[in-house]
């Protein structure tokens, strides 16, 4: 029997005997990264909105001071969580909660919590960038028809900003799928943790992690495809219908967009 055939036999054998463990790991990885990305996205949107509130001549002094303090605290959060590795944050939060507050988190909720606040820190700046990238004229036009800042954000700016940051958000999601592997240090039973167990049982590291590799790739690739499809759907059709022409009122003419 050649070396190659032994190798593939091993891969097949390991997968056949351990697939429920791989499946459970992949499931946990997806649950943690998906929930973490969604919560992080919401944190990011909230912080992004707060950090782009305009301050002008009409702002009262107490409001301006309150805003400055809030902004400073948010900036601290962003800088600290972007500036330290998630693996270290996981250790600090998990063991810190147990030591200081006697809270014994179960690993998966702890993992979701860590991924969420970590993603939130990144998303906060991504959302802020998205809001700033919306043309100033959009704000002016909304203000000129009497919309307040909140109405402008909700109806005009955020829909455009969110569309613009979707690619960056899917990026975050993909990064989270891969980076949840560091949560194995706090014994979260995600894919990497489960793979290590399987490898330990069989004493076959290369074969096991090749399978792990493939599973990670299938997950990230599927997720990017789905998100790309959502982007296209959100952009709407590039064609539109004209209702009635000057000569034939019942006519429907389809105009196909040129710039797409």
């Amino acid at each position: 029997m050649s070396a190659e055939s032994t190798f593939f036999t091993w891969v097949y054998f390991i997968f056949e005997n351990n697939w429920p463990l791989f499946l459970m790991g992949a499931r946990n990885t997806l649950i943690i990264s998906l929930t973490g990305t969604i919560i992080g996205f919401i944190i990011g949107i909230l912080i992004g909105i707060i950090r782009t509130i305009p301050m002008d001549e009409n702002t009262s002094i107490p409001a301006a001071i309150a805003y400055k303090i809030t902004n400073f605290l948010l900036l601290c959060y962003i800088e600290v969580f972007r500036g330290t590795p998630m693996i270290v944050q996981a250790m600090v939060v998990f063991y810190g909660a147990a030591m200081l507050y006697n809270i014994h988190l179960s690993p998966i909720p702890a993992g979701i919590f860590i991924v969420s606040i970590n993603t939130g820190a990144y998303m906060a700046e991504i959302v802020r960038g998205g809001i700033l990238s919306v043309d100033k004229g959009q704000f002016e036009a909304a203000h000129s028809i009497g919309m307040t800042h909140a109405q402008t954000m909700a109806n005009i700016v955020l829909p455009q900003a969110i569309r613009n940051i979707l690619p960056a958000t899917s990026n975050e999601f993909v990064i989270n799928i891969k980076d949840t592997s560091v949560l194995s240090v706090i014994s979260v039973t995600e894919l990497f943790f489960m793979s290590k167990s399987v490898a330990g049982i069989n004493y076959r590291y290369f074969e096991v992690f090749l399978i792990t590799c493939i599973i990670y790739f299938i997950m990230t690739f599927t997720v990017t495809r789905i998100l790309r499809y959502m982007e296209v759907r959100l952009d709407g059709p590039s064609a539109f219908t004209i209702h009635g022409s000057q000569t034939v009122p019942e006519a429907e003419i389809r105009i196909v967009g040129r710039d797409k």
């Binding site: 959009q138 000129s144 919309m147 539109f240 219908t241």
Partner: protein, 245 residues
């Protein structure tokens, strides 16, 4: 005459640059006032101050005799009474042509969606864009965008409409369709304040023409006087330069 807006001693300073110096000026109901002048003379800033897109450094803006800079009226409520049409159109890119004209009515004027749509359709019909209600702003031409922008402003049924160089960003062959709409509006008795480089439009449509130079109003008179017999040397120099082109 019923004065909608009256400005007293308005000043606007950007850093060390005094853009508007002691402006006194008023617009009455039904008037069409054109503001002309060289680039950088403060025309657009004056218009933007009127709508509080720029906050005046000092002075008063009286809206029906009430000073709106005194915080006794919210900026949003006041702004809704004055429509604005921008040089760069500024249509809401995420909304269709129809929704561009509906969103303000529903959110600001609290109209129900059905009557808002009807009002929007009426004004889109008026500017000749009712066939394009489903299009997004990036699917129509500049002239069409500006006509939608006019319909959006009209849908709010403002007391006056401010135009900030509405044709300056358009290709020459598209200027006509927008000017035609504006002429019709002027004839219908709408109060309009138009910053423009279109001297033909100012001469034909305006009740009054205001000439501005380096942050002051140099001359404010009927078009016949401004164009045929200006009293100020600066007006004469400007007009000679513009009309020669």
């Amino acid at each position: 005459m019923d004065e909608i807006i009256k400005i007293k001693h308005l000043r606007k300073v950007f850093g060390a640059n005094e853009v508007l110096k002691d402006i006194n000026f008023s617009v009455s109901k039904g008037e069409v006032v054109c503001i002309i002048g060289a680039s950088g003379s403060g025309k657009s800033t004056l218009l933007r101050c009127l709508n509080l897109l720029e906050y005046p450094t000092s002075g008063e803006i009286l809206y029906h005799g009430q000073n709106i800079l005194m915080h006794n009226m919210s900026n949003a409520v006041y702004r809704a009474k004055l429509g604005m049409v921008f040089q760069q159109f500024n249509l809401f890119n995420n909304l269709s042509v129809l929704d561009n004209c509906v969103v303000g009515q529903v959110k600001v004027l609290k109209r129900d969606a059905k009557s808002a749509r009807k009002t929007a359709m009426d004004y889109l019909e008026l500017v000749g864009m009712s066939q394009f209600i489903k299009a997004k702003p990036n699917q129509i031409s500049g002239g069409q965008k500006q006509r939608v922008a006019i319909a959006r402003a009209l849908s709010m049924e403002p007391e006056a409409l401010l135009f900030d160089e509405p044709t300056s960003a358009l290709d020459p062959e598209l200027v006509g369709e927008v000017l035609k709409v504006m002429k019709n509006l002027a004839r219908s008795g709408l109060t309009m304040l138009v910053v423009t480089h279109e001297m033909g439009f100012a001469r034909e449509v305006a009740n009054r023409v205001v000439f501005m130079d380096s942050g002051v109003i140099v001359e404010d008179d009927v078009p016949e006087v401004i164009f045929n017999n200006p009293s100020n040397e600066r007006t004469r120099v400007f007009l000679r330069r513009v009309l020669e082109e």
